[in-house]
Symmetry: C2
Subunit: 189 residues, 2 copies
Amino acid sequence: MGEAETAREQVVRAADELFYTRGVQAVGMDAVRTAAGVSLKRIYSLFSSKDELVVAVLRHRTQMWDAGIASASENATTARERLLAIFDFLDAWFRESDFHGCAFINTHGELSASSQAVADAVREQKRSFQEYVGRLVDEIGGTPDLAAQVAILAEGAQTTAAIAGTPDAARHARAAATTLLDAAVPAHV
Amino acid sequence: MGEAETAREQVVRAADELFYTRGVQAVGMDAVRTAAGVSLKRIYSLFSSKDELVVAVLRHRTQMWDAGIASASENATTARERLLAIFDFLDAWFRESDFHGCAFINTHGELSASSQAVADAVREQKRSFQEYVGRLVDEIGGTPDLAAQVAILAEGAQTTAAIAGTPDAARHARAAATTLLDAAVPAHV
DNA sequence: TACGGTAGAGAACGATCGTTCTCCGCGCAA
DNA sequence: TTGCGCGGAGAACGATCGTTCTCTACCGTA
């Protein structure tokens, strides 16, 4: 059982890296097998289809995203700081050499038309993120509309950074978020 | 020649609709042939590869985008109105029943890892749009940074609307853009 | 009427995909 | 030791892809 857990994690981790780097459809199950060091038979006993593996990879990415946001917010003491920490997290991410855009957005563009399960998994992650932003905005007295605006900035920054190939969008989105927060919530200082 | 132009247009239009609805990799050249009513031999005499057809489709989409923005800005008399008209255009687009997100973002997520030509075509379209926004922002006395912020809102709205499946993002992005413009440029009234 | 060249329809080809199956070797109960 | 079941390696399968090739019908021209 512990062994099975490890094999499953190896497959998910290997598939995640391959899918993110080359795209899902460009990676065959043979490549996953080789990278994970787990036989095809075992992979198909853990996941009934490639689609299911993709969903598992997206869930793994969700955990990584949540952990990254939490880590970037560690030193933040207020909800406002935690909101802005999102964009600091994006900035650091965009500067990584293997940054290829948001895996959820990429996978949605690639597979949402042919796989409802994938589309649902992506939508769920975005909904969860919007909820997180919504809680923080509520803490500082902002409206749900303001939360939606901040979330749109985060999405736009990821898309822009991926296509342009530069990390500038994080800085721009952070500045825009600051303006929106200042305009909606009277500064306490 | 006029005939060739027409055949080329038929192929591009048919491919555009198929690619946008089902995704590029999910559509075979046989499906393009059937939908366009043009033989494979002729298609491959017009485009040397599927990749080249994809680039031609993206260029066609660029023209449609530019025309849509121009049409939505028809009644605008000021640069500020033309900027906000972008979000009205997005709002109307998001409400169309066959809206499946931004074709450039989708195609980038699907093929940028495997086709440099596609990645370049997408980047060029986004750069062109950012330039358009930049000109309008400059007209009202805003900085390039403000233009980047407005462009990020537009990108984020498209991504959010595509994944969530609702048109709300256009309204939110428009309100955010209004706040940003008001904060950066003193109102004249 | 005879003919050269073009274009259409779709068969054919080689590659690759997701998925399944076969074979083999190893660990364990009696 | 002998038999048994499980898992690993990867061959095999059927489908599908992008691309090319073959064959045929038809066109204007002499």
